[in-house]
C-alpha cells in the first residue's frame, strides 16, 4: 500500500463447524459456546449466525466480563450428536505496522500502578491464570523471554520498546518451538510445553502471554481464525483449517497489539478475532456437559475463512 490510500478493509466469510458424536443417546445437554466474533478496533461483524442441530430447547445470548459473545444452549431431549455451525461475515481493517513502542520497563511499571477504569481493563491481564500458572512456571518463562528476546541473550536493555521486545519474543517462539499437534493436548501443563519446546497454537499463545506477564507486561489470549490458503497461493499459514489462537500485548497509548507466535506475525494481518480473555479457559469455543449413559464421544472441527469481494463499499466511517 502506498501512503494516502484509504485503509483497506477486507471482508472475510467464515464457516466454522463443530460436531460431537456420542455412542449413546444423551438425554440432556448444556453447552456454552464462544463462536460469534466480537467487534474490535480492527473488525466489524457484518453478519453472524449460529446454526445448532438438533434444534436446542433453550438458547440465550449474553456478553461475558471481557465483552465476548456467549451463546448458552440447552438440549433437553434425546440426542446422539450436536452440530454447531457458525457462519460470519467480518470486515477487517489491516492494522498499521506499529513502531517500537514505549520502553518495556516503563510499561511494566505503569501497568502495575494503573487505577480507574484502566485498572479494570488492563491489570487482570497481568495475573496468573488457570492455564498460565506463573507460580509454577514464572521463573522458567522469565528465563525464556531473556533467552529468546535478549540481544545478545540473555540481556534486554531497559530502553527496548515493548513492541520490539514482543516482536523478538514472537520470532523466538516461532523459531525455537516445534509445531507438533501430537505432542500436547488440552491438559498438557505449560511447564511441559516450555521444557520440550513443542505444541500447537494454543500452547505458543500461552507461552507468549506467560512470558510477557512474567516480566510484568499485560498480555491476553485471543481466539479466532486465520485466512484459509488461497488455492493458487503459496502462502498457507499454520492453523488455517481449525480455530486458531494468538496473543495480544498492551501498548500504552497504542492499545493492544496482536501477534501470532505460531506464524511469526506482528501485527496479525489475516486474522479474524472471535474472543479474548486471560487464557484458553476464558474463551474455549465450546464447553459443556451431556447427561446420559457412559459414552464415547468424537469431536470434529472444520473451519474455512475466505476473503470475499464486498458487495458494497465499506461504510463511510471506516
Amino acid at each position: 500500500m502506498t501512503k494516502g490510500d484509504p485503509t483497506p478493509v477486507i471482508r472475510y466469510s467464515v464457516r466454522h463447524r463443530t460436531t460431537y458424536q456420542y455412542s449413546a443417546q444423551m438425554s440432556d445437554g448444556y453447552t456454552l459456546t464462544r463462536l460469534i466474533p466480537r467487534t474490535t478496533d480492527h473488525q466489524r461483524v457484518a453478519r453472524c449466525e449460529l446454526h445448532v442441530d438438533p434444534e436446542p430447547d433453550e438458547r440465550r445470548s449474553q456478553v461475558d466480563a471481557f465483552g465476548n459473545h456467549v451463546v448458552q444452549l440447552g438440549l433437553h431431549h434425546s440426542h446422539a450428536h450436536l452440530e454447531l455451525a457458525a457462519h460470519s461475515d467480518v470486515d477487517v481493517t489491516v492494522p498499521a505496522e506499529p513502531g517500537p513502542g514505549p520502553r518495556w520497563r516503563h510499561v511494566a511499571a505503569q501497568a502495575a500502578s494503573l487505577t480507574g477504569a484502566a485498572a479494570l481493563d488492563v491489570r487482570p491481564f497481568l495475573a496468573a491464570s488457570t492455564y498460565v500458572n506463573l507460580d509454577a512456571v514464572g521463573d522458567g518463562l522469565r528465563r525464556l523471554v531473556y533467552e529468546l528476546a535478549g540481544r545478545p541473550a540473555p540481556t534486554i536493555d531497559d530502553d527496548v520498546g515493548v513492541v520490539d521486545l514482543t516482536r523478538r519474543l514472537c520470532a523466538g517462539i516461532h523459531s525455537s518451538f516445534d509445531y507438533d499437534p501430537s505432542a500436547t493436548d488440552i491438559s498438557t501443563p505449560l511447564a511441559t510445553v516450555i521444557a520440550e519446546r513443542h505444541g500447537v497454537c494454543q500452547d505458543f499463545a500461552h507461552v507468549a502471554i506467560g512470558g510477557l506477564r512474567a516480566i510484568g507486561i499485560p498480555a491476553r489470549y485471543v481466539s479466532g481464525y486465520l485466512e484459509t490458503a488461497r488455492p493458487d497461493g503459496p502462502d498457507a499459514l499454520v492453523g488455517a483449517d481449525a480455530s486458531h489462537a494468538w496473543a495480544s500485548v498492551w501498548v500504552p497509548g497504542g492499545g493492544w497489539v496482536d501477534f501470532d507466535p505460531t506464524n511469526d506475525l506482528l501485527p496479525t494481518v489475516r486474522h479474524v478475532t472471535v474472543a479474548w480473555g486471560r487464557d484458553y479457559g476464558d474463551v474455549a469455543p465450546v464447553r459443556g456437559v451431556v447427561i446420559g449413559p457412559p459414552t464415547a464421544q468424537t469431536l470434529s472441527v472444520a473451519v474455512e475463512s475466505r476473503r470475499v469481494t464486498a458487495d458494497r463499499p465499506p461504510p463511510g466511517d471506516w
Partner: protein, 740 residues
C-alpha cells in the same frame, strides 16, 4: 498470676462446684454422646459407602461450655454486625462497581487470580443480599484482647451444630442451667426462625420455596445439613434432585418439577455447576450458575462470596472495607503478634481429665428483614497442641453460653411468612432412597432370621444332616442362597462336593457368606435411611446407630446367633417406627412399596427353597418348619392348625392366607393398594396378575418359581417407572485449536 486468668474462667467459677467434679463430667459426657447418637449425629461414622469411612460428627462434645459474660458478648456481637455489614459492602463492590479495584486498594491482578473470584458474575445484577449468613472465628488472647481468626462467607458451617449441641447441653446440664448468679443463660432456640427469615430475604419472591442444598452424606457437615433441614422444615436436596430449565432451578419430584426460589447453599461453590470452567469433578447442577446470573434462583450465600475467604486477598480487606464504609474494624486480625501472645486457656474436659486448653469461638450472624442478628451462642472448638487456630483438629466442641436472658433471640413475631406447602412434593431421590431403605430393611430381616433359624436348628440337632441322608444341608445352603439372592459361590461348591465333613454339607460356609450379605444390606439400610433422615421420626436415628454398630461388628466376623437375634430385634424396632411413627405421604409409600415387594420376593424364595421334593417326610417337615420360622409364621401356624406340620397347609398359610400379615397375598395386596394410591395403573395391573396366580400355588408348590420371577419384574418396573435417575454429567471434549 491471677490477672492472666481469663474472664471466661472467672465466669465459669460460679459453676465450678458442678463442673469441676470429674465424675459428674464423665456422666455428662456419656449422656451427651448418647443423646447426640440419638439425634443422628453419630451413626454416620460406621457407614463406609465406597470403601472410605464416612464422615460423622466432626468432633465430640466437651461438657464444659465456654461462658461469656453479657457485656463481653455485646462487644463481640457489635463486631460481628460490623464485619458482616462491611463484608457485604465489599463483596457487592467486588462484583459490581469495583471501586476498591479502581482505586488500587485491591490489586486487580491479585483479585482475578483468585480461584474463588467469579468473573462470570461481574456485570450481572447481583443478589439483593450476598451474605445471608456469616460466621467469624474469634479468640481471646492471654492479654485479654479479642482477635479475628477468620471470616466464613462461602458456606459458613456451625450454626446447625450450635443448635444441636445446645439441645443436648440443655438436657445434660439441666442441673446447672438457670442457677447462675449472673442470671440465666441466653437461649438460642429462636435463631432457627431468624435463619429462615434471612433466607427468605435474599429473594423478592413472595412465599419463597427454599431448599437446603447439600453435597450429600459424604460431606463432613452432612449431619448439620440434615439437622437444619429438619429444624427449618425445608427439603434437603442434592444435585441430582435439581435441574435447570428456562433459567430457573427446579426440584425433581415424583410426578413433576417444582420451582425453587432460594437454595441455602451448603455446597462449595466449585461443586455447583459442572459447565463452569472452575468446576471440579464432584458433579453439580448443569446450568445452575447461568440461572443464578439471570436471577432465576438465589443462592444463600451468593455464589462467589468465597472470594472473601481467599487467604491471599484477606490482607487487603481491612483497607478496602475502610474505604467503603469509612471505619476501621474494631477487632484486629490474629496476626503474628497475636500468635506470640497466645490464646488464653479455658477449662476443658479432655480424655477424662479436667484441664485447660485454648479455644477458638465461632459466632454466627444472619441478615434478616430487620437487620443483622447475632446468635447469643456459637461453637467453641478446642485446639490441640500445635493446631493452627483456623484449622483445628477434631478434638472437641464446646457449647458457648452467653450470660443474661435479655440477650436471647426473641421468638420472632414479625409478619408471618407466606407458607408454601411442599409437603406433597417428594424429591425423586428421596422416594428412591425410601424404596431402597424399605427393601434393605426387609432383606436384612429375612437374612438375619434365616441365619438365626438355621443356626439354632444346627445347634439343637447336630446329627440332622446325617439323619436326613445328607439332604438337609444342601437344602439349607439353597435357602441361604435364595434369601440372600446371591450365589454364595464358595459355599455352594463346597456344599455340592460335600467336602466339609461335620459342616452339614457346607451350611457353615454358606452362613459365612450370608453374614456378608447381611452386613451389606445393613449398610444400604443405614445409608439410605440417613439420606432421608428428615422424614423419619427422631428415634429412628438411635435404632440406625445401633444397627450401624452391629454392622461394624459383622464386617469383622461371621454373625453369631445372638447377634442375628439382636439385629432382627433392632430391625423389628425400625419396622415399628416405620409403621407407627412415619407420616404416610408419598415418600413413605415408596418405602413401604419396596418393603412389601421385597417381602413377597422373600416369601416366594422361602417356599421355593423349602417346598417338598423327593425327600423323606421327616426332612420335608424340618424344611417346612424352617420356612415358617424364617417367615415368623411358625407360632401363628401352630395356634391356627394345632397339628403337626403339613406342607401343603403350611405353604398355603404363607402364600395366600389373607389373615397372615407375612403372607405373599398380604404383601402384594398392600403393593396393589400403594400403586392405586399413586395413580399407577401398570402397577395395579401387575399386582393383580400376581394375586391371581397365588391360589394355585398351594395346590402345586412348583408354581412358586413363576410367582417369584413376576415379583422381581415388579420391583424392576417400579425402578424403571419412577426412579430412572439422571446419571452423572459427562464433560464434552474440549475443542482445541490448530488441527487439535
Amino acid at each position: 498470676m491471677n490477672d492472666r486468668r481469663s474472664e471466661l474462667t472467672a465466669a465459669t467459677l460460679p459453676f465450678a462446684g458442678l463442673l469441676s467434679d470429674v465424675t459428674v463430667l464423665r456422666r455428662m459426657r456419656a449422656e451427651a454422646d448418647r443423646m447426640l447418637a440419638a439425634r443422628g449425629a453419630a451413626h454416620l461414622v460406621a457407614v463406609p459407602a465406597d470403601g472410605q469411612p464416612a464422615p460423622g460428627r466432626p468432633w465430640s462434645i466437651d461438657p464444659i461450655p465456654v461462658v461469656i459474660d453479657g457485656a463481653t458478648f455485646d462487644g463481640l456481637a457489635a463486631a460481628v454486625v460490623e464485619r458482616m455489614r462491611g463484608l457485604e459492602r465489599l463483596v457487592a463492590d467486588l462484583y459490581g462497581a469495583r471501586t476498591v479495584v479502581q482505586s488500587g486498594v485491591v490489586p486487580a491482578e491479585q483479585l482475578v487470580r483468585s480461584t474463588a473470584y467469579r468473573l462470570s458474575h461481574v456485570g450481572t445484577t447481583g443478589p439483593p443480599r450476598w451474605l445471608a449468613t456469616y460466621a467469624v472465628d474469634v479468640a481471646r488472647l492471654r492479654d485479654g484482647t479479642w482477635r479475628v481468626v477468620q471470616d466464613c462467607t462461602d458456606a459458613p458451617s456451625g450454626l446447625g451444630f450450635a443448635l444441636l449441641d445446645r439441645s443436648v447441653m440443655v438436657r445434660v446440664a439441666s442441673d446447672v442451667f438457670g442457677r447462675s448468679p449472673f442470671g440465666p443463660v441466653a437461649s438460642i432456640t429462636g435463631f432457627g426462625s431468624e435463619l429462615r427469615r434471612a433466607l427468605a430475604t435474599v429473594t423478592n419472591a413472595p412465599g419463597p420455596r427454599i431448599v437446603v442444598f447439600t453435597q450429600g452424606p459424604r460431606h463432613p457437615a452432612y449431619v448439620e445439613h440434615s439437622y437444619l433441614a429438619r429444624h427449618l422444615g425445608f427439603h434437603l436436596v442434592e444435585a441430582e434432585d435439581l435441574v435447570v430449565r428456562r433459567q430457573r432451578l427446579w426440584l425433581r419430584t415424583i410426578g413433576e418439577l417444582e420451582p425453587i426460589d432460594v437454595a441455602y447453599r451448603r455446597v462449595d461453590d466449585a461443586a455447583c455447576d459442572p459447565v463452569e470452567l472452575f468446576s471440579n469433578d464432584r458433579g453439580g447442577v448443569p446450568g445452575l450458575l447461568g440461572a443464578v446470573a439471570d436471577g432465576g434462583v438465589m443462592m444463600a450465600n451468593g455464589h462467589g462470596t468465597g472470594v472473601l475467604e481467599d487467604p491471599a486477598l484477606v490482607p487487603y480487606w481491612p483497607k478496602a472495607i475502610a474505604a467503603l464504609v469509612g471505619e476501621t474494624p474494631r477487632l484486629a486480625p490474629f496476626d503474628d503478634a497475636a500468635r506470640a501472645i497466645g490464646i488464653d486457656a479455658t477449662p476443658s474436659f479432655l480424655d477424662g481429665e479436667l484441664t485447660e486448653a485454648p479455644v477458638v469461638i465461632r459466632l454466627h450472624g444472619v441478615a434478616g428483614p430487620s437487620g443483622i442478628r447475632v446468635m447469643a451462642g456459637g461453637n467453641g472448638r478446642v485446639l490441640g497442641i500445635g493446631d493452627d487456630p483456623d484449622q483445628p483438629t477434631a478434638l472437641a466442641a464446646k457449647d458457648v453460653w452467653v450470660l443474661g436472658a435479655q440477650r436471647s433471640s426473641p421468638v420472632v413475631l414479625g409478619p408471618a411468612m407466606a407458607q408454601v406447602d411442599l409437603s406433597r412434593s417428594v424429591p425423586t431421590r428421596a422416594a428412591d432412597a425410601f424404596f431402597e431403605a424399605g427393601r434393605a430393611v426387609e432383606r436384612a430381616g429375612v437374612v438375619a432370621r434365616t441365619i438365626a433359624t438355621v443356626g439354632v436348628r444346627r445347634e439343637q440337632d447336630p446329627a440332622l444332616d446325617v439323619d436326613t441322608g445328607g439332604q438337609w444341608g444342601p437344602r439349607m445352603v439353597e435357602l441361604l442362597r435364595t434369601v440372600c439372592d446371591e450365589p454364595l459361590l464358595v459355599a455352594t461348591e463346597e456344599a455340592l462336593a460335600g467336602m466339609e465333613a461335620g459342616d452339614h454339607g457346607g451350611v457353615g460356609a454358606a452362613m459365612q457368606g450370608a453374614s456378608r450379605v447381611l452386613a451389606e444390606q445393613l449398610r444400604t439400610l443405614v445409608a439410605s435411611a440417613t439420606s432421608i433422615g428428615e422424614y423419619l421420626p427422631g428415634t429412628a436415628a438411635r435404632v440406625l446407630a445401633r444397627l450401624a454398630g452391629l454392622r461394624a461388628q459383622l464386617a469383622a466376623r461371621t454373625v453369631g446367633l445372638d447377634m442375628a437375634d439382636d439385629i432382627a430385634a433392632d430391625l423389628a424396632a425400625f419396622d415399628g417406627l416405620w409403621a407407627e411413627s412415619t407420616v404416610r405421604g408419598d415418600a413413605w409409600r415408596f418405602g413401604d412399596l419396596g418393603r412389601r415387594l421385597e417381602r413377597a420376593r422373600a416369601v416366594a424364595g422361602l417356599v421355593d427353597a423349602c417346598r417338598p421334593r423327593s425327600e423323606t417326610a421327616l426332612t420335608q417337615a424340618v424344611n417346612i418348619e424352617v420356612m415358617l420360622a424364617v417367615n415368623e409364621s411358625l407360632n401363628a401356624y401352630r395356634r391356627r392348625y394345632r397339628t403337626d406340620i403339613e406342607p401343603r397347609l403350611a405353604i398355603g398359610f404363607v402364600v395366600d392366607h389373607d389373615d397372615n400379615p407375612r403372607s405373599l397375598v398380604s404383601a402384594i395386596g398392600r403393593a396393589r393398594h400403594h400403586a392405586a394410591t399413586l395413580g399407577w395403573p401398570d402397577g395395579v395391573a401387575t399386582a393383580e396378575q400376581i394375586l391371581a396366580a397365588l391360589p394355585a400355588v398351594s395346590r402345586d408348590p412348583d408354581l412358586i418359581t413363576g410367582v417369584r420371577d413376576d415379583v422381581v419384574r415388579f420391583l424392576e418396573l417400579v425402578d424403571r417407572t419412577w426412579f430412572a435417575t439422571p446419571v452423572n454429567p459427562i464433560r464434552m471434549r474440549p475443542v482445541r485449536g490448530s488441527r487439535g
